[in-house]
Amino acid sequence: MRPSLIQILIAIALLLAPLPALAAALDDALARLAADSYSETEKAIGEITASGDQAALAILDAMANRRLFISAGDKSVYVKDGAGAVFEARTGKPVASAPADLAMVRLNNRLRGMVEASLGSLTLLSPDAGKRLAAAETVFKSKDEKLLGTVEGALAKEQNARVKQALSEARAAIILAKADATITAKTEAIAVLADRADRDALAVVRGATATPSPELNAAAEAAVQTIERRLYFVGLAQNVWYGLSLGSVLLLAAIGLAITFGVMGVINMAHGEMVMLGAYTTFVVQEAFRTMAPGWFDWSLPIAIPLAFLVAALAGIAIERGIIRFLYGRPLETLLATWGVSLILQQAVRTTFGPTNREVGNPSYMSGAFDFFGLSITYGRLWIIVFTLVVFFALLLALKATPLGLQMRAVTQNRRMASSMGIRTGWIDAMTFALGSGIAGIAGVALSQIDNVSPNLGQSYIIDSFMVVVFGGVGNLWGTLFGAFVLGVANKFLEPVAGAVLGKILILVLLILFIQRRPRGMFALKGRAVEA
């Protein structure tokens, strides 16, 4: 690799400056850390940053990542790397046997912010484009006037378009905050920030609307309006996205119920517990991965999906064969019996796994977010939407294009006719119920990623699931799909206006009014199937 500018600069500095003096500055700074007081650490951070020492960057980086340690005995400072190996902070040399009395250098949020800003100022010229980008962002936030020269220097030699953009925005933020910058420079800075058009830019530009110069104020006002208009549309899109994401969760929870309740007509109050069983299966699978193959943790979800289906489907068969089949045609008894089953399952899980929440981790592809034209989209939610749609269409295919699906529809439409055609109706009932329950189990895998894995997990989804199925139209899978997304989007548009609690109440009231008008839901089945 070509030596970067900062390395050359440091080399020159090392040649020019009397070496012992520099070393002494850093040593003094490190000695302050031994006091374990925030005010001393604050001074130390300033001094380490100012020391210009080669080791400063590594030390600050270790501090920010909680990998900087100090020995209580001889007050020397060490860096631990990710693997647990210990290095001398001063020289970067590995240490054969680390002192036993190492204590982490403690930071609070204010100091953490300082370290980040210092790191930003030191990594503006880093050879790594990702680091330069992060540095430009921290400078944008700190708006440190002293860094204007460095930012401009970095800007002049920057090749990467994204980093260049970030640097010019950071430069604009500094200029706008700087008292003695010219009006022309500031107006140009406003134009740069208006293009950025996010909340951070808005905050910076808004700060420039009350200056002594009327011409600058007008420019800033105009920029504020442009940014606000853009943010308004981004906000609308964001609400739609949140609505789709909530809708996909509702759909996932309700889709199994659309089979057991929608197709078979069984009011299964234990549906939520099938979801819970799926979530606990995920937990068990992840525990196995954690102990046996921690490196393959990302594969835990693909493995958990078929297992969760199997566990919930078997539980479903047991419930159908053991209880529900004796109660067909008696909805009230079914409701009470399955409610009892749900309580039994909850308490059984509580006794086996304990009453506290179990930790289900997010694989790397399920965490974090990315920026999409100003929308912040979280990976977890995105994958859940994709996953829900896959499950939905797979189910649709299973019902429409497989022999089992055909038999299911035959049995639900006319049981006696199907039976006389040679279909084992009892077995089909069990299979249908198993399919519905198994899909609830799969839903549990997805929900374990965004909700708590606790014995009560199912309870929070049972009402919503029934709501979706009834609203969409009982017996119609497409109705369930649209019902879920309509309820999700409506909820998310009401929530910012009315608040989460009132929003939910409003949705329920609207739903009741809707059911009054259309008792069979959005997509009512027509024809003889309705009477059967």
Binding site: R106, R110, R350, P355, E359, S367, P496
Partner: protein, 429 residues
Amino acid sequence: MGFTGRAMLRGVTLAAGLAIGASSALAQDTIKVGILHSLSGTMAISETTLKDVMLMLIEEQNKKGGLLGKKLEAVVVDPASNWPLFAEKARELITQQKVSAVFGCWTSVSRKSVLPVFKELNSILFYPVQYEGEESERNVFYTGAAPNQQAIPAVDYLMSKDGGDVKRWVLEGTDYVYPRTTNKILEAYLLAKGVAPADISIGYTPFGHSDWQTRVAAIKKFGSEGKKTAVVSTINGDANVPFYKELANQGVKATDIPVVAFSVGEEELAGVDTSNLVGHLAAWNYFQSIKDAKNDEFIAKWKTFTKNPKRVTNDPMEAHVIGFDMWVKAVEKAKTIDPDKVIETLPGIEAPNLTGGTSKMLANHHITKPVFIGEIKADGQFDVVWKTDGLVPGAAWSPYLDGSKDLVADWVEKKCGNFNTKTGKCGGA
């Protein structure tokens, strides 16, 4: 079928009758202690632990020779997170089991539900959870924090230089009595400190709320107006986990917008991946990570008792340790378990807490406690970043609310829980 069922029922009733008869015969040899914590339902997650702590403390006291020469006997009932059932179970403990004191309740709703029972039957309740204040009953001893022992110091810390000099506030809570009252007090306090009403945003979500996308986006928006912003969270129970997950997913870092929570402790964090939460705060009167000989001893005992080396300890557990110790000392001092005598003896009793201080029961039936602000660490424990100089006496009535600023609670001299200093009469505002 019906006949055998009825016969069986009769048999069960008979057996139960015999059991009660047998236990009341035993009652002369033991002192009974009631434990009223939910072992099933939503609150089981938090309350089961408290039941176990009480069993451990009672077992330990029995090893030391019991109380007044008698063995202690724990009577455990399960109110199943069902608020009216709390009142029924409390009545059962006092009238049928004849317990001498009850340790129990978690949510404020459950406490409010049992209050009339304890008043009517004149028994003693030790309540171990931090709560909203605005209450002082003769029969209840509050060993958890009042708002001035948790909420107010936490806000003071955030306003200080080390806390980040916060200027804008989001008060985010679950929709029930504790967060609503606490937020009312905090809002009045912030306004009194000169915070503009536009710089305070209050939001409520239902119990078990799991879709935090909209609220977190709103917090992000509120925090991007150029002033340092913090979130004061009175979110209770399960809803915290998805809340923190969403904060991490949307990239809200503690260095930008710190969250200080009043209901998130070691136990709640046990089910969360904390690597993204580092730096967010919690305010409590106890943390497991506090180095003290008494605390180390307690943690070791707890791990042995539960046979689980990973079990964590938390603040309400410490409150029960202090409360139980105070009750034992009061009974020993009064030489009787008669509720009136014990209630009279309790104010002034001192007991060591687990963080190196000595807590004292005050005349208003609250205790003195130290206040700590802790930062979440990557291992789910807390690192104390700030603490009060000494112990803070719990205040039943907030001086920042109109209805309560003239009220004082004093069961020693005034024999009143809501004495109005303006009118000079007992009976509230």
